[in-house]
Amino acid sequence: MSKITLQRRDVVGTLLAPRKPNLLVVGGLGSPSWDIAATDDNPQDFCLVGAMGLAVPVGLGLAEARPNNRILVITGDGEMLMGIGSLSTVAHARARNLMIVVLDNEQYGETGGQPTHTAGDTDLVAIAAGSGIRTTATIRTENELNELALSIHEIDGPAFYVVKVTPDLPGAVYPPLDGAFAKDRFRMAVLKDQIT
């Protein structure tokens, strides 16, 4: 198996570069949220800074409420493992506009780098496929990542990708920590005059 070389923040930058206005992003607790905030302080991003395990459920609720938007959940391996049953729920709901990307550094980066189960025998892509998500892949190279980024608006969901990244943690760039502000900013950007 090839050596892991992809850097998490570059990965998020590449994924969000071809972004169109109908893309909504949900970030999972920890470094994925910091990576999104560092890349693109976009009001159409909603980054969780708590409620570990809920990034995918939030993305699913949003996907069902906004069928004309594309929803991209970007989270980490530890956060995904905590809400792993939600992959079955996503498969069952068949949200065609939902795509999940797990930045897998095989460790709990925020708490000191303790290994997650993906450092051992756990294979998140196999779990997603076994949960019934039909479009899945593991991304290890720059070429594979570029291909994924270019298809982000076309992929038929639900889709699930693991991007293997190095354990390097770039400096934390925080999204709005006040959830009420983050929520209002997101709703004003997305719902515009339909806000009630």
Binding site: V49, E64, G85, Q194
Partner: protein, 173 residues
């Protein structure tokens, strides 16, 4: 004597329609079975079966971000699964409505249901959830309606606890 099925599931359903609540999340529950069937028959309702209750807190939060109202239907044993998840609506000042069928409190037949059933109200209150309780069927519509108004008008977390007395204890003997 043949018992007539209770009409309160239809009354809760009517409140969901009036209040435009269309994202219905649930872990299958005998007490909510009829309500879930009624919701399933509606094209404009998304009815989502969860693997565990905390997913429902996330899904209705995501629905709210997208401009849609939701509700989580669960049993008191599921309340314990939602506790840390309740930080999401609290920290984000989002509305959160749940309707809980109680166990472990009215001649319960299963001792394993008692700890969480007895602990559910305190656990919810500890997380800042406002409680409404329904002990009599004739109050159901009013209370569920008020609870929904409380949640969605004030951006807060609200639980309606439906007394086990209205559902009946499950016999194990």
């Amino acid at each position: 004597m043949q018992n007539k099925p209770p009409e309160w599931p239809e009354e809760i359903f009517a409140v969901l329609r009036t209040r435009e609540i269309t994202q219905i999340c649930h872990v299958p529950d005998a007490g909510h079975d009829r309500l879930i069937r009624l919701c399933n028959a509606q094209n404009d309702m998304s009815v989502t079966t969860l693997t565990t209750e905390e997913e429902g807190v996330g899904i209705v939060a995501g629905a709210w971000l997208g401009g849609r109202r939701g509700v989580l239907l669960m049993q008191s044993s599921g309340v314990g699964n939602t506790i840390n998840a309740l930080a999401l609506p609290a920290a984000c000042r989002m509305p959160f409505l749940t309707i809980v069928t109680m166990r472990g409190e009215w001649g319960e037949g299963n001792p394993w249901q008692v700890p969480m059933g007895q602990g559910a109200p305190g656990a919810l209150e500890a997380m800042g959830v406002t409680l409404f309780r329904v002990d009599r069927t004739e109050e159901m519509a009013d209370i569920v309606n008020a609870a929904a108004a409380q949640a969605f008008n004030n951006m807060c977390s609200v639980a309606v606890l439906i007394s086990q007395r209205l559902i009946g204890a499950k016999g194990f003997k």
